[in-house]
């Protein structure tokens, strides 16, 4: 029989043991020097801490659906070439990466890449042409189901010519062959070929993290952080200049921004134009601005009778004061868009004047289309129908709600009634896919090539993102001509003509081209965020004062 005191002590001991073991359960592996006394305060010396709004989904970019994975993957895996940010006025240029040189065949149907013989994987295995062939095979395999597999559709054959030479043969010649061959990183075949493609997702997490890029994974704590460290076997001994990079995951953008201002982060690429002033007033941080591959628009559902008439769509564009939107919502970090090709793709393509804010002309067009104003309500009617529609916005983008309110006010002045519908992101996306909408405010981030077909062609109603069902055979012809052009220069006239048709037809009201704002701590040197990537050439970044990695 135990005494009451002993029983009590046992209960206390038990509770303490449970509490301690639970606490231990949450701790990631504490590292080899467990006996050292710990400094509980955050020590960031030698670490560049970058904010991410989403965790990685997987370390294999071919299985990923998240942009965050791409940002990290391109720093741990090397590609054949490094795509540059000079895609103004044509396809981007490339610098050598795993391929030290490349050459095109005379008929331009084949490109041969010569790999660096000195390049090895992080486990010491040489990087060979077989790795390239295997990766291309995986990229288009149905069981891998890579979401960007479409870019490889013109690659007919990938052949290993010798240990360090690989040839890509294309089904036709077109301006973006290099880009499509290069898209995606190279995977280690000696690791991933051991697993059937159908089991990549289930068995992938247990695959060793063998990489080829300037960094390798130091630690990935799901939901918390991804830490990279310099890959000592990277082919370029002078890179990376940072020894330790940590991506902190902060799903809440407001929280991330506040933590950046408070000095917890060295880099935050989600600075809202309305937050710009606060960044400029904060010591120790810089604000970088660059043109983005992005445009905002109102998508009209051309299947609806109201929007099937291009005069109505044009009138609605003319009735909206887009200058006010760029000024009041984007604080002039955006400009009124004239079409779907932002200035970052070349000024000559974006130099056509946007439609002006002209309520008089808008009303005349609506009158001509049969929508006449009712004296009492001021609203327009046609055949017993009122000129009114629902404008959808996604609730997680409050600036779109503000924009919708301005649009509602502008269009009311020309006799159009707009009801704003704010939807949760998934519901908003689903309504576009299923065509259950009148109009929505959206935005597209574009690849580094001009591709109007996936958005505006008749084919894209079925295969792409032409959710509004817009169709113009004349445009389709120009888009076919662009796709078939052997080089960029010869495709330019067709691009210009297509842009003219889009401006005339207004399947979208092109609202704005926005610049991107990035906050960077003054600790970071050498950062050159650009339209290619906010983390462009992360391997060249360094810490001020030569802070060493811990």
């Amino acid at each position: 029989m135990l005494s009451r005191g002993v029983k009590r002590r046992r209960v206390v001991f038990f509770l303490a043991a449970v509490a301690t073991s639970s606490l231990l359960a949450t701790c990631a592996s504490p590292g080899p020097d467990e006996d050292a006394g710990g400094d509980p305060t955050e020590d960031r010396s030698g670490i560049a801490v970058l904010g991410l709004t989403a965790d990685l989904d997987t370390l294999n970019p071919y299985l990923s659906v998240r942009a965050a994975t791409r940002d990290v993957a391109y720093n741990i895996y090397a590609s054949l070439m490094e795509e540059q940010a000079d895609f103004q006025d044509g396809p981007p240029s490339f610098k050598p990466d795993l391929a030290q040189r490349w050459e095109s065949s005379e008929d331009n149907l084949a490109i041969t890449f010569y790999l660096r013989p000195e390049a090895v994987w992080s486990d010491g295995t040489p990087i060979t042409a077989e790795d390239v062939r295997f990766t291309q095979e995986a990229a288009v395999h149905p069981d891998v189901a890579w979401l960007a597999a479409d870019v490889k559709k013109e690659i007919a054959l990938v052949e290993v010519l010798d240990r360090h030479t690989v040839r890509f043969t294309f089904s036709r010649s077109y301006p973006y062959q290099l880009m499509d061959a290069n898209d995606g990183v190279i995977l280690p075949s000696h690791i991933w070929s051991r697993i059937p493609y159908s089991r990549w997702r289930s068995d992938g997490p247990r695959v060793p993290g063998v990489v080829s890029g300037p960094f390798r994974i130091r630690r990935w704590t799901p939901g918390q952080s991804i830490e990279l460290e310099a890959n000592p076997r990277y082919y370029d001994p002078l890179r990376p200049r940072l020894g330790h990079v940590a991506f902190r995951i902060l799903p809440d953008a407001v929280s991330g921004f506040e933590q950046f201002l408070a000095g917890h982060l060295d880099f935050w690429d989600r600075v809202d134009p309305r937050q710009m002033e606060r960044v400029l007033q904060t010591a120790g941080v810089n604000l970088r601005r660059y043109p983005d591959r992005y445009y905002g628009f109102i998508g009209w559902n051309c299947r609806r009778r109201l929007f099937s008439d291009s005069r109505v769509r044009r009138a609605l564009t003319l009735g909206i004061d887009r200058e006010r939107i760029t000024r009041d919502i984007f604080r002039d970090v955006a400009r009124v868009a004239s079409g779907p090709v932002p200035p970052v793709f070349g000024t000559h393509l974006s130099r056509r004047q946007p439609l002006p804010h002209d309520p008089g002309q808008a009303m005349a067009l609506l009158d001509a289309a049969g929508w006449t104003a009712d004296g009492a309500s001021g609203l327009r009617h046609h055949g017993g129908e009122t000129l009114s529609f629902e404008l959808q916005v996604n609730a997680d983008a409050p600036w779109r709600r503000d924009m919708a309110l301005m649009i509602q006010e502008d269009l009311r002045r020309i006799g159009v009634e707009v009801t704003i519908i704010s939807l949760e992101r998934g519901t908003y996306g689903a309504s576009h896919r299923t065509g259950e909408f009148d109009a929505y405010i959206g935005g597209w981030r574009l690849p580094t090539k001009i591709d109007l077909a996936t958005t505006f062609s008749t084919r894209a109603v079925r295969d792409g993102v032409n959710f509004g069902g817009y169709s113009n055979p004349a445009l389709d012809e120009f888009l076919e001509s662009i796709a078939g052009a052997p080089d960029f220069a010869s495709s330019l006239p067709a691009i210009e003509s297509a842009l003219d048709i889009l401006q005339q037809d207004q399947p979208y009201t092109f609202l704005y081209w926005q610049d991107r704002l990035v906050g960077i701590s003054k600790r970071i040197q050498g950062a050159r965020p650009n339209a290619q990537s906010a983390l462009f050439r992360l391997a060249d970044w360094s810490l001020a004062g030569g802070e060493a990695a811990p």
Partner: protein
């Protein structure tokens, strides 16, 4: 008692199946699919459909339901449609942080709640009683996410006393075991305080009313008349008798605590089940939502069973087939 526990556990199985089915049905009634979150001109419809085939999302709903149910029964929790990894790999690391957060908050909430409730009961009708009741009312009225944001703004971003998010510092892993534990500890302060304060009012009110009821019993009046000190009366006799309704409350508090943890985990970027579930709901990642809900429901069922067992131990009259002493 053993038979009772087994019977209760068996009775929990249809309940869990019902919850699982309900989540599946509701999840598929909600508009939107995982692809609607990342639609882009860079992704062709064919590539999207190919990915849907890999996840079996192209199958009829009844086929998806049957396959997922069978897989769950086998303990194979399928693949996450938003992360391209097995669901188990996503859920498992999230359990520990949630248990630590909710468990610590539960401990602090009940300890503090009972103490404040006891103080209010001792000083019934006086200033302290009104102050505690007022505090409880204020805390009860504050939405938990707002409280969390307020905490971060004040204690992290303005005063810079405590970390604003996550459960450890980047440098913690090299700080040794004790340093790491301390680091996790200071990261827990704000989320635990938020979760504790959010549910504290209920415990205070229950503790106060239970104690007032017990203190009005004749035997305690007699003890007070014999000159027993008030604190001794309260802690030695009063609390012992008032503990039963509080144990019941403990069982009931678990679901509220776990749902509160969801919001707290989002505010503090705490990598627990709540955060995982929240992200999965937004991403229409039903396999993860179902697995997380199933796990949470299991915790609630087991928590309630534990509370019932604890009541049986504390008061043998409540045991199945038990009799009054």
């Amino acid at each position: 008692m053993g038979g009772y526990i087994v019977r209760r556990l068996l009775a929990g199985i249809p309940l869990l199946w019902l919850i699982w089915t309900l989540v599946f049905v509701v999840g598929h009634l909600v508009p939107g699919r995982s692809e609607d979150l990342y639609t882009s001109p860079q992704i062709s419809r064919q590539d999207q459909e190919r990915l849907n085939r890999v996840y079996g999302l192209d199958r009829p709903i009844i086929v998806q339901y049957t396959r997922q149910l069978l897989a769950t029964v086998r303990g194979d929790l399928a693949l996450s449609t938003s992360r391209g990894r097995p669901v188990a790999e996503i859920i498992a690391p999230a359990v520990g942080p949630t248990l630590v957060l909710a468990g610590t908050a539960l401990l602090v909430q009940f300890t503090l709640g009972i103490l404040l409730g006891a103080l209010a009961a001792l000083r019934q009708g006086r200033v302290l009683d009104h102050a505690i009741s007022g505090l409880a009312l204020v805390l009860y009225s504050i939405p938990v996410f707002w409280l969390g944001i307020l905490m971060v703004l004040i204690f992290s971003l303005r005063l810079a006393w405590l970390p604003p998010s996550h459960y450890s510092s980047l440098s913690a892993s090299t700080a040794g075991l004790s340093g790491h534990l301390f680091d996790v500890g200071i990261h827990m302060v704000l989320p635990v305080a938020t979760l504790t304060l959010a549910g504290l009012a209920v415990v205070i009110r229950h503790a106060r009313s239970s104690l007032l009821e017990v203190l009005a019993h004749e035997n305690l009046k007699a003890a007070r008349a014999r000159g027993l000190p008030e604190w001794r009366l309260l802690f030695r006799h009063g609390l012992r008798q008032a503990i039963l309704p509080l144990i019941t409350l403990l069982g009931l508090a678990l679901p509220a605590l776990l749902s509160g943890a969801l919001l707290v985990e989002v505010v503090f970027s705490w990598p627990g089940l709540g955060q995982t579930t929240y992200q999965a709901i937004l991403a229409r990642d039903y396999p993860v939502v179902q697995a997380a809900t199933l796990l949470t429901a299991t915790m609630v069922v087991l928590g309630n069973l534990a509370a019932d067992v604890a009541i049986s131990v504390a008061d043998p009259r409540t045991r199945p087939g038990g009799t009054a002493p």
